[in-house]
């Protein structure tokens, strides 16, 4: 029974990722695309968790942490770039 539910959830998340991909491609402004990419990163984390349930192995659970960290760092770098044009700066007053 759990397997069936997990398959349904995987299909739901795949549909959600395709929907978000539409926003990444079409999105009118750059921040729209970054928002959608961040949400896709979160969906990948959920997808890895569900895949490890269907495969009945705990070998992929480190990948959850790895993808979480990578999605967060990517989002921070993108938004820093969008705000000032540089990623690492020394200006502390803003």
């Amino acid at each position: 029974m759990i397997q069936t539910v997990v398959y349904i959830a995987i299909i739901c998340i795949a549909v959600a990722m395709i929907t978000l991909l539409y926003r990444v491609i079409k999105g009118p402004t750059l921040p729209d695309r970054i928002v959608a990419l961040d949400a896709i990163g979160v969906n990948i984390v959920a997808m890895v968790a569900l895949m490890s349930i269907t495969l009945k192995t705990s070998a992929f659970l480190e990948v959850i942490l790895l993808f979480g960290i990578l999605a967060f760092i990517g989002t921070v770098a993108f938004s820093k770039y969008l705000e000032k044009g540089v990623i690492i700066d020394d200006d502390r007053n803003s």
Partner: protein
Amino acid sequence: MMIEIAKYLIIAFILIGAFFHIVAALGVIRLPDVYTRNHAASKAATLGVLCILIGTFLYFYFIENHFNSRVLLGILFMFLTAPVAGHLIGRAAYHSGAKMSDHSKQDDYKEYLEIRNSKEYQEYEEYKRKLEES
């Protein structure tokens, strides 16, 4: 008995998580401007992924008899970083000049920026810096 209850709990958590992911994707598609889309993506998707990770943790704990601390770390990490990422994107979008939707009524950050960029506030800052130096 315990395992049966745990099975229904796992199923409930996973279905709730998948539902929130669908809601987040619909929000990103349907809402009118960047700020509302960011609101949908950062809140609903975070709740969905937290539910799915809790379901995964319960599955490995009750059915495979394996206490996995990495999933707990992942839950904590997603819970901490997702709001921070959403806030950073919103701020960067505002500073890069993304337009609000026509239905938006209020813009408090604009008032704050006007006060902060006014001449009086700049003079006040300079005076304060001189006091600290002396």
